[in-house]
Amino acid sequence: MKIPYSILSITEKALTKSMDVHTMERIVKSIIPNYNLHKIMGFSESIPIPNKDAAAQIVRDFSESKLFFKLVHALMEAQEYGIMGRRYPIAHLHEIIAEIINLGFIYDKNNKLFIENSKTRRTPNWGVLEENEEYIVTLLRLDIAANTQLVRKYESSLITQTYNNLRSIVTAAVEQRNGRVWNWEGDGCIAAFILGNRNMASVCSAIEIFHELFLFNYIESQLPEPVNIRVAIDTGYCTYKHSPEELKKTELVTKILELESRHTPLNSITITNSIYASLHAEIANKFTTTRSGNAVYYTYTIQWATP
């Protein structure tokens, strides 16, 4: 994304007014460790670089390398927590943040990231995740059970209509909680959550999907039989890939596919221990413990009293 000149200009001023070149370099090196300002600008190490020129060069480099938001975040940290024990009041910092918000981003305190405001736009990487970078992500895998049989048994228009409805239910439940559906295939999808309490958000999404699908099967569905699903949720480090095919090869995705296919009963949600531990007690109570070898999983199913 191209950063408007007005924001770059204010940031340049902010750096110039708030610190010396040495501090600028220290901040920059915390993001790009091998950044050498003297070398880039063609100055020998012994020659001091004027503050204004150094600031202009740094802002330009960060803007071009798509790391500009990281630079702003580093300035926020310098003001909030300081560098080597000293706090640096950053001039114009409020103006910079206000301009970024105007661009359609919000600051996520938990992840310390500027992410896109979902009210203005929704992209799979929240506007900030970078290819091949590792992030802590919670993944939700949904699988339509007996998909092949359904497709063979019923007319394609009926199946398309039913699956479109299911897709709307899933997308609404996920995006309402600032998650993103990363990949839709014929028989299911993978959705990701990185913001806020991402584990709770993913579990609430899954429960809502179940309830909505249950009502859909009862009220709207034209299929003579109900659509059944399996949902698995896990969290961990995941290398972000734009390509869905590449994404499938990542460790967390492989793990969640296995959790869904091997350890999730029909019409149930299975979660791992790390997800379970971060749930609200009353939500956690709805899950029952299941063991598979040494692993412990937790499963949720809609419970009905017998008539």
């Binding site: 309830h211 709805k286 009293a305």
Partner: protein, 319 residues
């Protein structure tokens, strides 16, 4: 037939006990109205007897009230708990159809007494269970204040308010109730539901009845299924709430929200009883009137529960 008891505030408990058997009657619809509010009563049909509590009221005021009843052609009866009027015959000379004093109200009044009066006055005592739907044309657009229509009623009440207050304090509790109410209003608005009354933690929503189906049932089920999510995501503070929903189809005179204080309706009475007295549990409870309009698939989600005030109740099977 209808019985309306216009009571003096301090006498309400005595009168409620005295009319307990009549309240339970399937043939008689009973309502209590505060004496100070009685002027605002919407005139009902001719099958109504007004029991006027004149305890502590001056004679001139009583004369005025009786004149009003006579002018409107309404049947009325007198309650005088202090025996302050010695000339009881005077009431009957002025067309009263019954007289009750303190001694007569020690035991609950038998239903037979009302039936005798009804027989003498030619009032019909039809069973309340016979459906007589008054459908509004074009949903809310066809509903005019002061007219009677058939509605699907949804009663909702947050439970354990005392406990919640202890945990989060009254200020936070108010905020929680407001956020919950806002969520429910937005949700039910999607199926043409309007909040008609809201008092503390209790709400009553109206859906114009189309005579064929009850679309609101799915949103009611949704509210029950998603209770935990709603508590955590759509209300403020991290506290789970429990609530009970009761649904019924019946007739009432419609008045806009805020002007409902004088409405007397048997079905609203019984819905509040169902919502507040039937059980302590949370969940969704519907009357047979609602159940009969559900499709076969949806009916399977409900199970027969114990009857209440002469109506069969069904409850959602979700645990």
């Amino acid at each position: 037939m209808n019985i309306i008891i216009i009571y003096q505030k301090k006498n309400l408990p005595v009168l409620q006990k005295a009319f307990a058997l009549i309240i339970k009657s399937k043939k008689i619809s009973t309502a209590f109205v505060d004496y100070t509010e009685s002027r605002k009563i919407q005139p009902l049909d001719k099958n109504t007897i007004y029991y006027l509590d004149i305890t502590g009221v001056k004679k001139a005021e009583v004369e005025k009230q009786l004149k009003k009843f006579n002018n409107n052609g309404h049947y009325f009866a007198i309650i005088d708990l202090k025996n302050s009027f010695t000339d009881i015959a005077w009431f009957f000379h002025n067309n009263a159809c019954d007289y009750l004093n303190k001694d007569m109200l020690i035991k609950p009044l038998p239903e037979k007494r009302i039936q005798t009066i009804a027989k003498l006055k030619g009032i019909t005592t039809k069973s309340q269970t016979a459906p007589n739907y008054i459908l509004a044309t074009d949903s809310w657009k066809g509903i005019v204040p002061n007219n009677e229509y058939t509605f699907c009623f949804l009663f909702i009440e947050i439970l354990d308010i005392g406990e919640l207050k202890k945990h989060i304090g009254s200020e936070h509790l108010n905020q929680k109730i407001i956020s919950f109410r806002r969520y429910v209003e937005e949700l039910l608005y999607q199926v043409d539901g309007r909040c008609w009354m809201w008092m503390d933690a209790t709400g009553l929503f109206l859906f114009p009845f189309n005579g064929e189906s009850v679309p609101a049932i799915y949103h009611a089920i949704r509210l029950i299924l998603n209770r935990l999510i709603i508590s955590l995501e759509h209300t403020v503070f991290n506290q789970i709430i429990r609530y009970r929903i009761a649904m019924h189809i019946g007739n009432t005179v419609y008045q806009p929200r805020g002007k409902t204080g004088t409405i007397i309706s048997d079905c609203i009475n019984s819905l509040f009883h169902l919502g507040q007295k039937y059980t302590d549990e949370d969940g969704l409870f519907i009357t047979e009137d609602v159940y009969s309009f559900l499709n076969e698939k949806t009916k399977k989600l409900f199970t027969k529960a114990k009857p209440f005030e002469g109506r069969q109740i069904y409850t959602l099977r979700y645990k």
